[in-house]
Symmetry: C2
Subunit: 671 residues, 2 copies
């Protein structure tokens, strides 16, 4: 027809002819172009912004010009006055086609936009949340057509948004009639999975929030996200109040075994903490944006098996002993009100699946975040805590196991150990000749040998050594020849420095002479050797099972993983040899995985499928575990080669007493 | 194969060959024969009882004999000792085939058995409840195969019962691990709709209950049923405690309008009453059977739109005024714990759909019970209360309306009126010559002119006249010529009997001279005329819309409908003319409909489809309603013919003052 105009959308390349005067949004919808809208063409939400290109497009045989869009009208001007429009940006629902056009849909106007992550190597998250908002005009009731109000809302969603709604929350029905009348028969409906109504607001409403929560044994962390943009609006954390029932997981499980019914108390405690965390996150976000707890529609939760079970109200007693049976290894979706949460009864809480009795939903989330199953590279992921969860694999195959490292890495069982908190030593260097240490403490940016250090730490104190500090001091003791490959003190060093002293039947190294005195004993070295041997043996077991001798990539996950220097982890032999360029720290990867599951619907199917495919290895029943464990007691290892590490660090000569060959004295480079 | 035996099942006629030694239950399952089992072949539930026929079956070319079943073994003997086995009955899971057989599956062994109803004309209910019990043996957990306990239950249900379970209640997961271990890895799972687990019991468990509830404005009635047999175990009733917020519906809606938030109080009140009713029903049933409230898996609820909304926690305010918009006209399923019920959190509560703002889920249930949509006969159903719900139709088409009869039929607005309760006059006869009345009161089987009556009612009193008594006294006054067709007193009758007196500017009839004196005034006659005219006009409006002059069948539903004598209802012109043989009282048809929805899954789809197809007529906006109403004020009607009634009863001559033509004095026959 003569009146038809030819339109090409970029970047999709979708194209078609439309009658003169067609709104750009309508044209985009007709072609299936990914152009967002909440208000449904009312010029209120500003989600459908587009740009018209200027120029000749020989490929399409058209000349596009901004003049081929209708002029800015009343509605669009009001929107620009109220919320601003960037230069050349037009509202797709208001601008109408009146000539051939090439129309660009910028990323922020796409429903399925990419959410870029901070770490360069991490894959971006494609935004595709489970909840979308849709504003509709609803037909008023009529004596001659006595359908229910809800049925007319359904018809409106079908007519105006092409949605087939087959379910509705009772909480929506409860406020439906008042909301319809308050909104003068215009309402915004929150629709979950494209077919179930979970929220309703009078008139136009544009805000939908979600929160991704990582429930750790010690801390609970949450990221509040805008479901329509993918932006993190606030990140908050707090201690897990269950600590009062026991510091570590097994002591909490023991508490429950000894106090039948206490599981309910622990469940209430953790649920209340997560609810408070959500409220706090909204309060935090409210400093910059207009948000309310009632806008939280979706929550994702990850945690280790015991936290997972307690959060869901499942008695974790079975996880306290062999065969460590999970109640369920499926993902679970509950309604917020079932958890006793009042902020939005229609909010859904999606708990990621556990993998096995020792490998939880947190590890599932780490897999989602680090995506070994999408890569060719053979990837080893270790998440170190009281247990180390270990994942090995690539796109072909994934293995997972848990290894009983004990709490040494967290500073427990170490004479001078403490939690990572202000006043804890976190970095250590030992002079190869004088054996004098220098260190950094949490809460102070200076090294201990820098000017002003004493004043800077006066208010903090030097109270102990945290996990990363213990890794470094023992690795440095090895590199300086104070201990040998077997972890034994070199008694001759007492002659080199007064810091090495005979203590009882063994020796010790004085790290800090203050109050308290911080000293590394032979037992401390042994505790770390046991812990790291368990970790290494677990990784090695998976490598055996996979049939590989080396890995292409190592990711250290978790709070501890983000604190330690990966080079020292390798010096100590916590992890197998790997090109250090490909050893990275992923920070709170479990929290990131929870965020991915929050923002991307497909990621849920992905992880639910994956956990079923992951091969679970139970280290406790593997006959080779003990052999690997014994061999891994040495620093870094009795037999395994570390060619990449040897290239990066001056290692003492192998299998020789460190005292005989203290290594070159060249200072090691830091990355 | 030589070892195969030929087996025919009756009454299905299904047949097949099976290896020697096949259990009858396994053969039946392989052929898809409708043979029940809960325990899954353990010889515990006794649901799979069968009988082997003796004789030659030329048609199949076999000779069947009980000897072709294996002998009664240990398990079967134990069952017989414990619970008894009728002569020749065998457990299908224990008896094995060792020769050709004709095997009869008696009705009580069929899953889809027919539940016969008391009224001969009512269609039987095919048992097909939404919840079934299945006993399974579950694989124990194993360190080498760390699947969740729930996943192994799923596999067991799939392997042993061919069920694909895709959902599980959190409450089931919560007690799953303990139940599995308490039952030593044998559990019975309650499965809803064949795919969702709603309950779990250790070991073998055979009892599943449901309760059908009719929430009326005045009374709440419940039928507790065994879902596995369809038997009613107990029927209980109680007053609706909402009465304290207002006697009738509109006064309760007004209360809510004047006390915002009070809807929650009314909701809590009715939910608590239904929960208590369920508990009471179980207590009642427990006198005869081993039942517990935790065995209630399903509840069905019906009620008028206001009761329906309040029960579901929906504010009924919109139902208090035009256009009387329902929040929803769909059926709603909730979990018991969402209603605050503690008896079994996994129980589902299915509320039947409302038809329109004045025509509720109770009417939907009446349709399900009386099934006009399955018949050729043009059926009129009237359910009389403060409003009369009227349904007209057959298998081709269904119409429904509500007519504002007011509360006169319930004894309100009548000077001597009262609720149907002991001491209320419910039956009245007036001698055509002497005008002397005789009557019966509720709580006494004697007529007032029979010997011993005075003594019998001494403890009860004669306190007033209930609805059915009012219908009868006014109809009898008409038949005796005390009032004419227009409802006006015939003043000349004061000369016939002192019972007819001049009172103020009109007359009255003395029904009973005791304390209190019970007298029918002109205003009482007018109140009944108004009520019956509204009812008749509603019915007539539907007949107009349907294009019919007469109906084939009339059903009077509801408590009132079951109390009144249908002949008197017709004398008064409450209902149109119809062959009296085809006018019946259905009792609590709404409660029966709720029971059908409880016992038969398909009935739910049936009524959900039907309510959408029912054409809703709003009497208030129908221009002809007023004309019909005015014409229907006469007794029985100004113009409509009543040929069937005239054949059955001696009617006074038409359109003539009753005093001129008091009719023949022959006594009317009673049915």
């Amino acid at each position: 027809m003569a009146d038809n105009r030819f339109v090409v959308f970029t970047p999709s390349g979708k194209r078609g002819s439309f009658p003169n005067g067609t709104a750009v949004l309508d044209a985009a919808r007709a072609l299936g172009v990914d152009l967002d809208s909440v208000c449904g063409g009312r010029g209120l939400c500003g989600r459908c912004q587009i740009l018209a290109s200027e120029g000749e497009f020989a490929k399409h045989g058209i000349t596009s010009t901004t003049a081929n869009l209708t002029d800015v009208g009343e509605t669009e001007r009001k929107y620009a006055d109220r919320r601003g429009l960037k230069p050349k940006h037009r509202l797709g629902c208001q601008a109408c086609i009146q000539g051939d056009l090439v129309i660009d849909v910028p990323p922020e106007s796409q429903v399925h936009k990419q959410v870029v992550r901070k770490r360069a190597e991490a894959r971006p998250i494609t935004l595709d949340p489970v909840v979308h908002l849709h504003t509709v005009d609803v037909t008023e009731p009529d004596m001659h057509d006595p359908t229910g109000d809800w049925q007319r809302v359904r018809v409106a969603l079908e007519d105006q948004w092409d949605l087939a709604i087959d379910g509705v929350d009772n909480s929506v029905l409860h406020r439906l009639q008042k909301t319809l009348r308050d909104g003068d028969w215009t309402v915004t409906v929150a629709v979950r999975q494209g077919h179930h109504a979970v929220g309703i607001y009078p008139g136009y409403h544009a805000r939908a929030l979600g929160i991704a929560v990582d429930v750790g044994s010690t801390t609970i962390a949450g990221h509040l996200c805008d479901l329509t943009t993918g932006d993190v609006l606030a990140s908050v954390g707090r201690m897990n109040p269950q600590i009062r029932f026991g510091e570590d997981l097994m002591s909490r499980v023991s508490y429950i075994m000894m106090h039948p019914g206490a599981e309910n108390e622990l469940t209430d405690t953790v649920r209340e903490a997560v609810e408070n965390l959500a409220t706090e996150a909204v309060k935090e976000a409210a400093k910059k944006a207009e948000v309310a707890v009632a806008d939280i529609h979706e929550v994702t939760v990850v945690g280790n098996p015991v936290m997972h079970h307690l959060f869901l109200g499942l008695d974790p007693t079975e996880l306290g002993g062999a065969p460590f049976a999970l109640a369920t290894d499926a993902a679970i979706t509950t309604r917020a009100d079932e958890l006793g949460w009042s902020f939005n009864s229609g909010a859904r809480v999606y708990t990621l699946p556990c993998i096995a009795g020792h490998v939880g939903a947190d590890t599932a989330a780490v897999i989602l975040s680090e995506a070994p199953h999408t890569m060719d590279a053979m990837t080893l992921i270790v998440d170190v805590g009281t247990n180390a969860e270990i994942v090995l694999g690539n796109k072909e195959r994934l293995l997972a196991a848990s290894s009983p490292t004990g709490p040494a890495f967290e500073g427990a069982q170490i004479s001078c150990g403490q939690r990572a908190a202000p006043g804890a030593i976190e970095r250590v260097r030992i002079d190869r000749e004088t054996l004098e240490p220098r260190f950094k403490v949490i809460g102070c940016d200076l090294w201990s040998d820098e000017d002003g250090f004493a004043e800077a730490v006066a208010g903090i104190g030097i109270n102990g050594v945290c996990g990363s500090g213990i890794i470094e001091v023992i690795a440095e003791m090895y590199l300086a020849g104070i201990i040998d490959q077997d972890g034994a003190f070199n008694g001759t060093m007492t002659r080199t420095s007064a810091r090495v002293q005979e203590t009882g039947r063994s020796f010790s190294y004085l790290l800090h002479a203050g109050e308290p005195e911080l000293r590394i004993y032979q037992t401390d070295v042994r505790a770390i050797q046991l812990a790291k041997a368990a970790l290494y043996a677990g990784a090695r077991l998976l490598m055996d099972r996979m049939g590989v001798d080396r890995v292409d990539r190592i990711v250290l996950a978790g709070a501890f993983g983000s604190q330690i220097d990966v080079t020292y982890a390798m010096v100590l032999g916590m992890i197998p040899d790997c090109d250090l360029v490909h050893v990275s720290s992923a920070g709170n990867a479990a929290g990131t995985g929870a965020r991915i599951a929050l923002l991307n619907n497909d990621a849920r199917r992905e992880i639910e499928d994956l956990v079923r495919r992951v091969e679970k290895i139970e280290t406790a029943v593997e006959p080779n575990f003990q052999d690997h464990f014994v061999a891994a007691m040495a620093v870094p290892h009795k037999t395994a080669p570390y060619p990449n590490l040897a290239n990066a660090v001056d290692l003492p000569a192998r299998s020789q007493p460190a005292s005989d060959s203290p290594g070159r004295r060249r200072r090691r480079k830091r990355g």
